[in-house]
Structures are given as C-alpha cells and as structure tokens.
C-alpha cells in the first residue's frame, strides 16, 4: 500500500512560530511580518530564531528527555548564538555582575515591564523633555515630572510663574454691595449704583453713621469698644434725672461730664474724637483716654471699622429674629400645642375621610367586620355567648340565611391585665418552667475510673469509710504506683499488629501489675486495722474500760 499524500511537505514549507514580541524578534521581523495591529505576539520564522529550535528537523530526532519546543522568548536571549552586544556587556559591568561572557541580564527583570519582551516604544512617543532611556527590553524610563504626553488641547503651565491673584476685578454694583469676603458690608461703595440699590445703600450708610456715632460716644466714655450697645440703651435715663445719670455713668471713667441723653445724634464725631479728648483739661484725663491717645490713627481706624461691622452684624441678626419670630408659632412648651386627641373622635374622623374619598371608602368601611367593644365584665361575655348560641341554633335550624349574621359578629374582648398568681404563671412559657415530677434518687455513675465519689458508706464495726473495690485509691507505696504506671503503660503500649510473644509479654506485665496492686492494698488495710486498735486502746485507757471488743 502506498503512502498517503501528506498534507504539507515539510521540505517545501516554512514554519513560523508565534512568539512574544521583543527587541530581537522585532528587529528580525522587520520585513513586513510584523503584526499590523501591534499585538503581543508575532509570527517569526523558526529558522531565524536562535537556539536549538533552529536546528530542529523533526521531533523524532530529539533525545527523549528534551522538550521539543522551547519557549522562543527564552531562546531569543540565549547567549549561544554569539557574543553579546557591547551595550549589554556594559550594562552587566555597570550592575556589578561578573564579566564572563554570560548574559546575566536575562535573569533580571526590568521594573514596570512584564515577562517576555515589550514592544520598543518609538522615539516620538517619548514624553517631551525629561530623561528617557531605553530599558533592556525596549521599555522607556521617564522622569517623574514628565509622565504623560500632552494632548493638543492641553498646555503645561508652571504655577510658580503665575502672579498672585489680586482683587482688582470689576464687579457690578449689586455684587459689590453683597460682597461678603471679609466683612459684613463693603467698606467702600463705588459709583454707578442706581435705583433701588442706591436707596438701600443710602439707608445702610445712615445706619452706619448712627452706629458710628454711638460707638464713638461709648469709646469716648472710656469703655471697651466691644461692649454691646443695647445695654446702654436699655439703661438710659431722661436728662432731668441726674441721679439716674450718675448711676448710669458710675461704672465708667469719663473724660468729661457728658449728660447722657436719649438723643445721641446731638454729639458729633469731632467732639468725641481722641484728639478732642486730648485737648481737654489734663486733669480730667483718665487711664482709658491715655490708652486711647496711645493708639495710632490707623489702629483706631481699623478698630472703629471692626466695631461698626460687628454692630452692623448685630443689627442684621436682630432684624432676622424679628422677621422670624412669628406669633403664630408660639411657644412649643405650652400645653395644648402638643397635639392631643380624644380617641373617641377617631371613628368619626375615619368616616369623614372615607366620605371625602368617595363611595369606595364607604363601601370598604361597610364591608369591614364590625367590632363590638366589650367591657371587662363577664356578664357581657356571657351575653355574647348566649347570643352566639342562639345564632348557632338558628343556623342549625335555618341554614344559610343566618350564617351571614353570625359571621358578622366578631367578639373582641379586651381583657384587662389581671395580675393574679394564675395569670402571672400562665404568662410564662411552659417550656422553661419546672415541670413537677417525682423526685428520684440521683443515678450513680457506675463507670470505672471516672473519679466520681459516690455516697460515703461507713462500716458498722470500725466506723471508718468502707473501701470499695472500684474506687481509685492513691497508693502510698512507690512500687505500687510504679507497677500501676507499668500496667498503664502495658495497656497503652499495645500496638497494632503485635506478635504473640509481644502479647504474652504484655499480658504478663499486666498480671504482675495487678499482683502488686493487691499486695499494696493488703498492706493498707492492715495499716488501717492497726490504727483502729491503737485508737481503741487510747479511748479505753482514758475511760478505764479494760476489755474492748474488736
């Protein structure tokens, strides 16, 4: 039989291998075999790949333990194809590795680069500026300040070169009036303000002037500029009441006697200025005025402005409070506002709602079963029960007709909480309660070696506790303990698959142990007996009885 025609004649075929794209392979595959879509892998002729795969003819020629298809990525860096490039060698030396011709770089991984090779990034993709050097596998290292390339609509601006932003922007009149960046009101009112805004500004100006006058006056009086005005206003007295005026000004150090008047506008600013105060009689100067004089004009100006701002703020808050202090709201603590409702009205309210919502609601209400509320009296329950009985009888007698009436009546009995013994007990869960049962003797643990101590039984003769054979006794004799330990060991040492000799030996050891235990027990008993005799002799000696029954 002739040989079947082969699908591919290897002698007239080219074999390509799918390898990871790398420096070397991309250089060799530059002819046009590169994958246009820049994939990870590329088909490379096997003949061009360095390493044993290039000399491979067929799988059968390989020795049995050699893998027929070595990874091309590793083969690409195999140093067998010839001398390394000079650059590579320099890098090896720079890293401090021995310069013996072996390519140590293939065992080093470039940070930021995956296994295998990476596509060499073309030059134009390097970030503008900054240092960039090509890594071993084509990776590019870029300094941190130039990480990403900029797109067309982006521009790099160094913020250090920019001037600081000043408040020279043009603002509209209204906007400036409500400029609240640093103060409650703007300090300067610029021109070009018209209409309603202008009127408001004028109003505010007048208010400010008033406040200023008040404040200056209070400052002239020597008080601290931050003291609130309303205290003064509240305690102000009429001019003819000199005593009141004295009382009013008693706590203040005054430069000069200013008759306190309700109408403060009389006093102009100039009279109360610090210069004016300074020009007055030296004797009337006070500590505060000196302090006042010590301040510079700029400080005073700033202080005055700050005070007037605060005062303006206060005024605004007062206006707000007045606006929102609505009488309709009232005090919430008063009784009657909390919303009390009599529950008897609920039914009527529901009916109203149902009627409002249309006929649907009424039908729903009518369809709902009527609930009869009963009082906590047994008489009612009895009456209802009798009624039910009658209905039942009628149902039995009539049939279907009376059933509807019976079903409509639902008895809801709200039993008031009766706290008597029976009810209290019944509230508790039966599961957790103690069920009365016959009290029995506790079971004795009959298992050996458990260590449980049962009821102690005293001997009639000796009065001492009777030793039970199954009770574990602590042995005094060391030999006994050793033998016991030995017997335990004999038991424990019983291993699987023991021979007959071993078994015999083990059993002999057990017997020996038991014998020793018996001997020890006998000794203990004799000890006890001796002790009893001795005590009886003692008692007889004390009482004088000569014969003591043993």
């Amino acid at each position: 039989m002739g040989r079947r025609r082969q699908f591919i004649d290897k002698r007239r075929a080219t074999t390509y291998q799918l390898v990871f794209r790398s420096e070397d392979t991309s250089a060799s595959a530059a002819g046009g075999e590169e994958d246009g879509c820049a994939g990870e892998r590329v088909l490379v002729p096997v003949d061009e790949l360095p390493g044993p795969s290039s000399t491979r003819d067929s799988e059968s020629s390989l020795p049995p333990f050699q893998i027929p298809f070595p990874f091309a990525a590793d083969a690409a860096f195999d140093g067998q194809d010839g001398a390394m490039s000079e650059e590579r060698r320099r890098e090896i030396v720079r890293l401090g590795l021995p310069d013996d011709g072996y390519d140590y770089l293939r065992h080093l991984r470039v940070p930021g680069v995956g296994r295998g090779g990476l596509e060499a990034i073309p030059e134009e993709r390097d970030a503008g500026g900054g240092e960039a050097r090509k890594g071993r596998l084509g990776g590019v290292f870029v300094a941190a300040n130039n990480t990403l390339p900029l797109s067309e609509d982006q521009k790099v601006v160094d913020a250090r070169q920019l001037p600081a932003l000043k408040q020279t922007r043009e603002v509209s009149g209204e906007e400036e009036l409500y400029d609240r960046t640093t103060s409650a009101f703007s300090r300067e009112v610029k021109g070009n303000i018209k209409g309603r805004v202008a009127r408001e500004v004028a109003e505010v100006d007048s208010l400010m002037a008033e406040m200023e006058a008040l404040e200056v006056q209070s400052n002239c009086e020597g008080a601290d500029g931050l003291e609130d005005d309303f205290l003064l206003e509240a305690t102000v007295v009429p001019a003819n009441d000199t005593m009141g005026a004295f009382m009013h000004t008693r706590g203040r150090v005054m430069d000069h006697a200013i008759p306190v008047d309700a109408d403060d506008e009389e006093y102009s600013v100039e009279e109360c200025s610090p210069r004016a105060a300074g020009n007055r009689d030296l004797e009337t100067r006070s500590v505060f005025s000196e302090r006042w004089l010590g301040l510079s004009e700029a400080d005073l100006e700033g202080r005055r402005e700050r005070n007037e701002n605060l005062r303006l703020l206060d005024e605004r808050f007062e206006q707000m409070i007045l606006k929102y202090d609505d009488d309709e709201l009232g005090c919430l603590e008063e009784k009657g506002i909390a919303g009390e409702r009599d529950m008897s009205e609920v039914g009527e309210v529901l009916i109203d709602i149902a009627e409002d919502e249309g006929s649907g609601g009424m039908e729903a209400l009518a369809a709902a079963p009527k609930v009869a509320m009963l009082e906590d009296r047994d008489d009612d329950v009895i009456a209802i029960t009798k009624k039910l009985q009658r209905i039942n009888e009628s149902v039995a007698g009539n049939g279907h007709g009376a059933r509807a009436a019976w079903e409509d009546v639902l008895v809801g009995c709200h039993a008031r909480e009766r706290l008597d013994c029976e009810s209290v007990l019944s509230y508790r869960s039966r599961a957790s309660s103690f069920q009365p049962a016959r009290i029995e003797e506790p079971r004795r643990n009959k298992q050996k070696g458990k260590g449980t101590i049962g009821p102690v039984v005293l001997s009639g003769k000796t009065g001492f506790p009777v030793e039970e054979p199954e009770r574990h006794q602590p042995s005094i004799d060391s030999d006994a303990s050793a033998s016991k330990g030995g017997t335990d060991k004999a038991h424990q040492n019983r291993k699987r698959g023991e021979t007959t000799e071993e078994r015999k030996a083990r059993k002999a050891a057990v017997k020996c142990g038991n014998k020793e235990a018996r001997v020890a027990k006998k000794e203990l008993k004799s000890l006890y007996r001796k002790e009893v005799v001795r005590q009886q002799k003692q008692t007889s000696a004390s009482t004088g009885v000569s014969v003591v029954p043993l």
């Binding site: 699908f7 591919i8 007239r12 291998q17 799918l18 088909l43 003949d47 893998i67």
Partner: protein, 119 residues
C-alpha cells in the same frame, strides 16, 4: 530555503489560500483544548476549510528518583512525570487570515507553530 509565502510577493499572493498546519503544544490539556477550540471557532467564522483538531499521542516524560537525599532510610521513590500534549489543525486559508486567527489571546504555556506550505 523555501521562499517566504507572504510579505514581499504582492497583494495577490497574500490572498491566495495556502495549506497551513497549526501545531499546538502544551503541558496543560485544559488550556490547550481551549486554544484549539478558539482557533477552530475563528476559522469557521471566516468560512475556512478546517480539519482537526487532530490529537497526537501524549508524550510522557517520567523521572523516578529516591526521596531521600542521603540514601538512608526506607527506600521510597518519587515518580515525577511531565506530559506533553499536541494538537494539529489544518487549514486552507490566506496567510493574513491566519495571522488574524492566531492573534487571539493564547493561553500561557501553549506554544503555537504555523507551517505554511509553499505554493
């Protein structure tokens, strides 16, 4: 050396259907079967004549060594083995199409070899 089947010969040559054999080798059967299935699926989507996958006998490399490093103790042995699985897929298609087909995600550990018969 056989002249390359594609690249410099021109557009018509690139479109001509060649006999192509794709050899897939791996130590992991699961990934190998997955890659095979993907390749065949892609090839069928492109209406190519596909044959395969032909499963070649698995080559098993066995190494039996003593567990003990020093030779003392009970004579216990370790049995290591490595299995190499191979699949073949035959196509009739132009070279460009093959490149597209093999541009799918290949599982790691699977080696792909493409043999193109010269016309």
């Amino acid at each position: 050396m056989a002249k390359p089947a594609y690249g410099k010969e021109g557009y018509e040559d690139a479109l001509q259907a060649h006999r192509i054999r794709i050899t897939l080798t791996s130590r992991n059967v699961k990934s190998l079967e997955k890659v095979c299935a993907d390749l065949i699926k892609n090839a069928k989507e492109k209406d190519l004549k596909v044959k395969g996958p032909v499963r070649m006998p698995t080559k098993t490399l066995r190494i039996t060594t003593r567990k003990s490093p020093c030779g003392e103790g009970t004579n216990t042995w370790d049995r290591f083995e490595m299995r190499i699985h191979k699949r073949l897929i035959d196509l009739h298609s132009p070279v460009d199409v093959v490149k597209q087909i093999t541009s799918i995600g290949i599982e790691p550990g699977v080696e792909v070899e493409v043999t193109i018969a010269d016309v």
